[in-house]
Subunit: 96 residues, 10 copies
């Protein structure tokens, strides 16, 4: 099953530059681990914003949550989750 | 360049079933023409809603508008357009 | 997989009482068919509003969409879909 | 009487990891106490978000408030409360 | 149990003046029947708007829904329902 | 003249428990002083939320502001103020 | 007492030009009657929108409602009502 | 003085194709008259939406309103008006 | 030209009472300087809220910004700016 | 390709005046570098708000993101990005 997930990052104002850099580095490692696994299909930057739109193909809603909530910045993001399925007008046989 | 577009359809309440069926048929033909052209990459149904999330790869913002505004239901949709680009954490070299 | 779905009904102002009664009757039959199937687990009325909160257990997002979009009033509802999973603090082993 | 309650948690950015861990542990104990009592019927995680949807069956609005406000993270949550009742189309005789 | 209910009326633009007058008259009769019953405690006009704020004391959420949904204009109102209980700072022993 | 006021409290995350307890105690004393004066007619807790709905009968908008702004937590609340008047369908002769 | 009232007009799409012209003419006469009475102090057009911001000085909330609800377009406006009072930093002794 | 104006068009569902074509033609003529006058500096289409963003340089707020309200589709648009001025970081001496 | 400006103040939670008192005193001096200049025509308190509605008559949008941004609490306010002009139904010849 | 970008700045409350002044100075230098490059075409202040509306002409969405995200205050702004194209009613041959 496939989800489209939009994440808006809100950087805490009280964090030092070191703390922020540490989080950003761990965020990158974490998201790349999931991309390598084949489950995080697309990771796009929203042009001009501290946001991304992602497409994930997972076994279950629990696996989606496991992936998203493992991100170090998870508590500091506003997240919109959309469950998608086949559109009757789609020519493509599969979602991805 | 790639756009993520979310379209929410609002069926006019005064339309007859025939008029609606006609619009739905022309909508399908139009969206499939653009899918066949290779520009409308993904057309996903939002599960449980009269909405879709689409991914389009176009030459320019003008071409994006040409495609979306050619849809018969274009005047009856609420549309959200997001311009996307490469994410620094993305492993994939290209957007699609 | 389990979804919580909230549906707000907007009755078209131009419909006759007969047309409305016909839709309401078909809406009832349709929702009861899905309840009988065991997939539409809970159908609750929001007290004081023309809305419901429902819990559905389905095989896939496609099945969720098949059920919701089969409702006659589907084009006239504002729908919020939430995909849920196991909470780490939940004592219950399964979702339902 | 039955309520559907949606809670979105906003983790304070200034909290240390120890303070947060302490709150999370006490939150778990508190919510499980109420689940064990039989009043907190369902506790679901919203997939991909730091939110839950819960179903509580209580004696009165006062009891609902007693339960929700006893959660350690209560002051740091955005909460939506929905009072539900029997839907005329529901096949099930009781709400739960 | 006590609810505070806010109702915003949206008069359909296609209704004739006769149809509107008929609805308004039946709305008045209906709301006064429930006021006379002692369950609809307060009915206040929001100054300057086609809205009211009401306070109802009912046996159950089902009874609240029975009352509100019996109003002829029910399908044409946006309704906000708030379940209230005793405030720890309140001097008054009962809600009403 | 009568106002319905809804106050949502946002507890500052950086406050110590002592500071919070001090504010809460002073908030209680202040609201009870105004209740005793007969001007703050109703103080209701919104079930499940850190919010209240209040009904105040005052001499003027200035007096309303004097009362609400004297609350110690006034700067940390989101406040909605509604001026109400007699509803044409109300059976009761006076507002309260 | 003084209110600031913002009114956004939504012209019904099904009205003929004659019906609209009739409403607009009656709206003008009605608002000018209240301006002449000295109660409707200011009537400002929001530049570029079908909206106005008005300042009314009335005896009571009931009188405010009497004035606003007498406007022929009252059912087709979204209205925001703000009750104002003396600001502690204001040099002017009175509101108007 | 310069304004940025965003206009979202909502095509009435009950209009015939002829009526709509007539409005669209008159809309074009009207907007081009103002562009020719030199006051309507930029008229941009929002890619993928039935919306425009415009920049107008006018003598006064009254002139802005005269221009915008002369558009035939004015009553059927949601309009956002922003008054702009020189930014302290701007290198350009004038706004346009 | 005349603007209606609504300012909602958000007092920073981390400020000491001394810092806040200092800001409030400087805010008062600043707003009174502009009132004395004759440009800040009205400064009204929104009853029951930490907000004001103001009416300013200025030479240009730049002057409006100079005044508003000189307020010490400017960075901690949510501000809504409305440019107004003569209403066709207004009896008064001038705006103020 | 051309984007209209609206940026609302939220100054962190915990920053010292020195830290803020440092950020503001670097923000100015950064935005002027991009204006000098010819890519940041317009930088307008929204009158009365800590916001700007900007027009940028860039090679790609990636370049837009490179510019906007290089601003020191980027993490502390709410940003709205709009991709624009030629309007069918525009007399001007090019966007800028």
């Amino acid at each position: 099953m496939v989800y489209v997930v939009e994440m808006d990052v809100h950087i805490p104002e009280t964090w030092s530059e070191e703390k922020l850099a540490d989080y950003v580095a761990r965020e990158k490692a974490c998201s790349q681990k999931w991309q390598s696994s084949g489950k995080w299909k697309y990771l796009w930057r929203v042009a001009g914003k501290y946001s991304n739109i992602s497409v994930l193909e997972v076994e279950s809603p629990d696996e989606l949550h496991q992936i998203i909530s493992s991100l170090p910045l998870f508590p500091y993001m506003t997240i919109k989750v959309t469950s998608i399925c086949k559109h009757p007008n789609a020519l493509r046989e599969t979602l991805l």
